[in-house]
């Protein structure tokens, strides 16, 4: 079980109930639980949806899954009236390598996810919400299912929630192992009992989503923020963060740091401080080589590029992404060629195969990088990798193709010399994989 960590620089919103037994409903209620849903209902049936959406817009909250789309705006796209039922779908298929924040949320504060789902439902006029957890999170799904049952027993879910006359149901769902299902349209396919392949957009899920009905799909962390925002007010939440990046975020800091962990930091917090102060610096006092700032799909930053604030816009400006907030720290001993190979091996394994540029591209990049890594690379291999990656970008139904191509391009561009050295027979760093590891196992 991931351990609870803390640091004085943390700004605590989401982690407020961590380590306090809030999975038990009485404890959650004692810690202001379910007060936000009741506050929303107290606005009156007519005013409530607008009030929730306005508060969410004011909060500046942007999607915590990776894309960073403004949550309030996403909700406002759902048509007011619809012939088909509307749905809320909570994405707890946390699979981005380097990310384990939703894991902590489900374990430490499951009712916050439930309450956020109820509020999202009230905002768009949905009667049903789904909370989908990846199959590997069975122990966490059990916690969620207990919490849902407790919420039904108290009348917080069901036909007449909080005595309001409004109905709302939550259905929990397990996945069965597939990174691609974390993509919103593949997630809907999976929930409909199909292979997790993406759908073309438009139509967007807010108009035609789950079972053909208007659907909002939000990451579990995004949803867990909602009750806090309603209680503290949109503006107050927004002010915690940086410009156009409201609030705080759960950052999973892993890899070569002294104190890895899930830390809640304000949006815009300096990356250098996150590594050297919050996470305690580089493991064993070694030198920093590189950072993957937002999960495996985000282009790498060199050690001289970490004087930057952790928000969506600042990371985008320097050619990377904040992604899912998974900060992976690499010390001086890491071979970037090896790290790039392990990354593409993952994407090649997980590509759902629906779009040819992604299916073939990830395979060719893996094959080419394997050759470079093993010392049989040709000079043109670097260009081949770049060419293939560039031609995957924007040519697939879903962002997976980009997610595989972007980190590859980042490694090659930022550490080109290292790739050239490998081709000339000069290896760098301390190898972590053997030939056998490359040829068998995960990624095959």
């Amino acid at each position: 079980m991931p351990r609870l960590v803390s640091h004085p620089d943390e700004v605590i919103v989401l982690k407020r109930r961590f380590g306090q037994g809030a999975a038990k409903i009485d404890r959650y209620i004692a810690l202001d639980g379910y007060a936000a849903a009741q506050k929303a209902i107290a606005q009156g049936k007519d005013a409530m949806p607008g009030w929730i959406i306005d508060t969410m817009k004011a909060s500046g909250l942007r999607g915590r899954g990776g894309a960073g789309f403004p949550t309030g705006m996403k909700w406002s796209f759902v048509p007011k009236t619809s012939a088909k039922p509307k749905y809320v779908l909570v994405n707890g298929d946390e699979s981005e390598p380097g990310t384990c924040k939703d894991h902590m949320l489900f374990r430490e504060d499951p009712h916050a996810v439930i309450e956020g789902t109820i509020i999202a439902g009230l905002a768009i006029g949905a009667k049903t919400g789904f909370i989908y957890l990846r199959g590997e999170y069975r122990t966490l799904l059990n916690i969620m299912e207990h919490a849902v049952a407790d919420a039904y027993a108290r009348g917080f879910l069901g036909k007449n929630i909080f005595g309001s006359g409004l109905g709302f149901d939550i259905i929990t769902q397990t996945g069965a192992g597939a990174y691609e299902v974390g993509e919103e349209s593949a997630l809907m396919e999976s929930l409909e009992g199909k292979r997790g392949v993406p759908r073309i957009r438009p139509p967007f899920p807010a108009v035609v989503g789950l079972y053909g009905g208007p659907t909002i799909i939000n990451n579990a962390e995004t949803i867990a923020n909602v009750p806090h925002i309603l209680l503290m007010g949109g503006e107050a939440y927004c002010q915690l963060g940086s410009e156009r990046n409201g609030g705080t975020r759960l950052f999973s800091i892993s890899g070569h740091v002294e104190r890895p962990g899930v830390y809640e930091l304000p949006m815009g917090y300096p990356l250098r401080k996150a590594i050297y102060e919050v996470a305690g610096g580089i493991l064993g006092g070694k030198e920093l080589k590189a950072v993957v700032p937002g999960g495996a799909s985000c282009p790498v930053l060199r050690a001289d590029e970490i004087d930057i604030g952790l928000d969506f816009d600042q990371l985008a400006k320097c050619g990377s992404m904040l992604g899912s907030g998974g900060i992976v720290v690499l010390d001086e001993t890491v071979s970037i060629v090896e790290f790039a190979l392990r990354t593409i091996k993952f994407y090649q394994h997980e590509s759902c195969g629906w779009c040819i540029p992604c299916r073939e591209g990830t395979d060719w990049i893996k094959k080419t990088l394997t050759r470079v890594y093993e010392g049989g690379g040709a000079k043109k291999d670097i260009e081949t990798v770049q060419y293939v990656a560039e031609n995957m970008m924007g040519r697939t139904f879903c962002p997976f193709g980009d997610a595989a191509a972007m980190p590859t391009l980042g490694f090659v561009k930022k550490f080109r010399k290292e790739f050239e050295d490998y081709i000339e027979g000069k290896k760098a760093g301390t190898p972590l994989m053997t030939e056998e590891h490359i040829l068998v196992g995960a990624g095959h």
Partner: protein, 166 residues
């Protein structure tokens, strides 16, 4: 009412499935949970499991097979009683994930996706399991074990073996 009169599952699981197919707007949504929960009980997704699930959901066997082949946790052959799944993805790799995997191979005397002769343990190298901040990590069945060292792995595997003898 179940469409299946003679279920291959325990009465508890059969009753759970009877209810599960009614909770969704479309009953096909029960397919992936049913496959995984069947596997938990039977040990793998057998032909009989495929046929019963297809019948319960009014699907062709082929529909079930098509979905089954997509999801990496689903298997069509038995695994060990304790399925040891070692993560070697980036965060775990940096903290010794491959050492842990190799240690498991030596200790259990098996390779990736193999099972010990006594059927007790199977081993799998897996992609990120979402325990990155306590890497290296593994799961045994659904339990997380992390901040692993070879010695800690030995203790964990000893505990499972002892649990089995009880």
């Amino acid at each position: 009412m179940s469409t299946v009169t003679k279920s291959i599952f325990t009465p508890e699981l059969a009753a759970y499935f009877d209810r599960l197919v009614t909770v969704y707007p479309l009953k096909r949504s029960a397919l992936i949970p049913m496959l995984l929960y069947s596997q938990d009980e039977v040990g793998y997704v057998s032909e009989a499991v495929i046929q019963e699930i297809a019948k319960r959901l009014d699907l062709f066997d082929l529909d079930v097979r098509s979905v089954l082949s997509y999801y990496s946790m689903l298997r069509t052959k038995p695994a060990g009683k304790y399925n040891v799944q070692v993560c070697t993805n980036i965060s775990c790799m940096l903290r010794g994930g491959y050492e842990i995997l190799d240690h498991c191979k030596r200790r259990l005397g098996i390779e990736h996706k193999q099972t010990t002769a006594d059927g007790m343990f199977s081993l799998e190298e897996v992609e990120c399991i979402g325990d990155c901040c306590s890497a290296p990590a593994m799961q045994v069945n659904y339990e997380f074990h992390d901040e692993l060292t070879p010695q800690k792995v030995d203790e964990i595997l000893d505990e499972y073996a002892a649990e089995d003898r009880k």
